[in-house]
């Protein structure tokens, strides 16, 4: 905090105090998130719902209201405009890095090698769950665009939480991990296209031709990125052709965030852009090094993302959406169980392991929230949906993820109970 050029005696102090206030807000955020993470690990749960709840508890709607009434002065994170902007940008970077890592770990050749089975289970998962989501969304909101959004939200399972559970439970060493991971890979690919289309649809006016143009632009951008990824490996390799870790980290971050930002300016999903940049760097063969260097960066900004989701959510709105959340949970849990069990059978697994696949797919998480934030950010200041619907969808997504992340994790942990039931039932048939 050196001397600033405009720092005269009476001017400097208020500036310092102002910055101090914002810095403390951000400091509180990070400290709270760290504490929440520790609690989550102690309870052997996924950290994601805990980060979200922390954001909710500290936001102006909760902490602000409480401290305002009790202490007469409001203390909350997200009170100052500057801190809120920082957290919002941090959340954006969280999305960018999450998707960048997804692309980094993505291996097209390996996918093509198992394309038959992955294609089959991916389509089963898509048709059953996205289909059910469309019907559900239309029934609940009565609007085709809202239905499309709900479909995406309930269709996509949480790669992050499920993969971690697979490792923690040791299922990673068993056969059931194959259909699970395969389906998740298919979902990742689908959601990249979905996000591109969604950004365009939500941004546009109600005009069909304008929407079609937006979607075409989005898909065109993806095509360009795909070509760059395919033929540009040498270019990306040369970018990271340096000894210094600092240099590698900075260059990769620079390229990724720049392209993501450019995409967003063109109205294309920054998440998708980051995904493809990740794929591009994966092609250089130095994915492990990049993962090693950037994992802490990703983890910090991802935590900010989940915190921010909670931050912008007014829990009093949950009361209004509790009904639709309950309906969604009741409808979309059996659909995942069904598609999951079926997928297990496609991989020739016995009833017991197919049950595990079924239970494993239930968890929803980061992608559902990324869809919600895409809608939120793109429609900020006007878009294809009325503001009330956007707020409702957001509250729905948050509540839905809070329930499904914990439900899914518990189902996996207590899988043995279901395994014996299902095996007994199926052999009795």
């Amino acid at each position: 905090m050196g001397t600033s050029p405009w720092c005269g005696r009476s001017v400097c102090l208020p500036v310092v105090i102002a910055v101090a206030g914002e810095l403390i807000e951000v400091g509180v955020m990070f400290a709270a998130v760290a504490l929440a993470g520790a609690i989550a690990r102690g309870l052997r749960q996924s950290v994601i719902p805990f980060y979200i709840v922390t954001g909710i508890l500290l936001n102006p709607f909760v902490a602000g209201e409480l401290t305002g009434t009790v202490l007469g002065r409001e203390f909350a994170v997200g009170r100052s405009v500057e801190a809120t902007h920082f957290i919002e940008l941090g959340a954006e970077l969280g999305i960018v890095f999450l998707l960048f890592f997804l692309g980094l770990e993505f291996n097209l050749d390996r996918l093509l090698a198992s394309r038959d089975r992955i294609g089959t289970v991916g389509l089963i998962d898509l048709v059953v769950n996205f289909g059910a989501g469309l019907v559900l969304g239309f029934a609940l909101f009565g609007d085709p665009l809202a239905a499309f959004i709900v479909a995406g939200m309930v269709y996509i399972s949480s790669s992050a939480i499920i993969t971690k559970s697979l490792i923690d439970l040791g299922w990673i060493a068993n056969e059931e991990s194959s259909p699970l991971l395969g389906t998740l890979v298919f979902e990742d690919l689908f959601i990249a296209v979905y996000l591109a289309v969604l950004s365009a649809l939500v941004d546009g006016a109600g005009d069909v031709t304008e929407a079609a143009l937006s979607v075409s632009l989005g898909l065109g951008f993806i095509l360009v990125l795909l070509v760059v990824v395919y033929i540009g490996t040498a270019l990306f390799a040369s970018i990271i052709e340096t000894e210094s870790n600092e240099s590698i980290a900075l260059r990769v971050t620079g390229v990724t965030v720049l392209v993501a930002g450019a995409a967003l300016t063109l109205g294309v999903s920054e998440a998708v852009a980051a995904f493809f940049i990740g794929m591009a760097f994966s092609g250089t063969g130095r994915a492990k090094k990049l993962e090693q260097l950037l994992e802490p960066v990703r983890d910090i900004f991802a935590a900010v993302f989940f915190f921010w989701i909670g931050l912008v959510t007014d829990p009093t709105l949950f009361a209004g959406v509790v009904g639709i959340i309950a309906i969604a949970v009741v409808v979309t849990t059996p659909t995942k169980l069904l598609s999951g069990f079926w997928s297990g059978k496609v991989y020739d697994l016995d009833d017991r392991r197919s049950t595990r696949v079924a239970l494993g797919m239930v968890t929803r998480g980061e992608f559902t929230l990324i869809i919600a934030s895409t809608v939120l950010v793109v429609t900020d200041g006007g878009g294809a949906l009325p503001a009330a619907t956007v707020t409702e969808l957001n509250a729905f997504a948050v509540g839905y993820v809070l329930v499904m992340s914990i439900l899914g994790t518990m189902l996996m942990q207590y899988a043995s109970v279901f395994e014996t039931r299902v095996t007994a039932w199926r052999s009795g048939e």
Partner: protein
């Protein structure tokens, strides 16, 4: 011996090896470098975690399993020098020496260590140029010729 390799997208790779008796060794190599070693007691069962190793630990365990992690063994021996650096030494094989139970051919002493066994004394009798099927036993006394390095190698690997 077939090692099956399964890709685990977003995690790493899984390797499986049938080790007999229905048991399968399963090793998950994470992209992060972490290695998890499991045993699947029989084909339908769940794999049980045996070891959760860091990259560093995995390399050490790996080299032990590979047979490259030797501890030198003290032997009771006398030495005679022939020429500048060629030594002739006597070794007595302990019961737990690696050579015990192996045939000359199997042991391949010259190939493995560079040293040559000139003669073997067993039960008071000296056997010169034993045939390849001849098997080493405990208490055999070996007369070995080679450079200092050959002898070190021999001492480490064979006695």
């Amino acid at each position: 011996m077939d090692v099956s390799e399964t890709d685990l997208p977003g995690v790493g790779k899984r390797f499986e090896l049938d080790v007999g008796g229905g048991e399968t060794a399963v090793i998950v190599v994470h992209n992060t470098g972490r290695r998890e070693v499991f045993v699947r007691p029989d084909p339908g069962a769940d794999a049980e975690l045996l070891l959760d190793l860091t990259d560093q630990q995995a390399r050490i365990v790996g080299s032990i399993l590979e047979g490259a992690y030797f501890q030198p063994v003290e032997t009771d021996r006398t030495a005679t020098t022939i020429g500048d650096n060629v030594l002739l030494e006597w070794y007595t094989l302990e019961a737990d020496a690696p050579l015990v139970g192996k045939s000359i051919k199997e042991a391949n002493v010259r190939g493995e260590t560079g040293a040559t066994i000139a003669a073997i004394e067993r039960g008071g009798e000296v056997i010169q140029s034993p045939d390849p099927d001849w098997v080493f036993e405990a208490d055999d006394q070996l007369i070995v010729v080679g450079t200092r390095e050959h002898h070190e190698q021999f001492a480490a690997e064979a006695t």
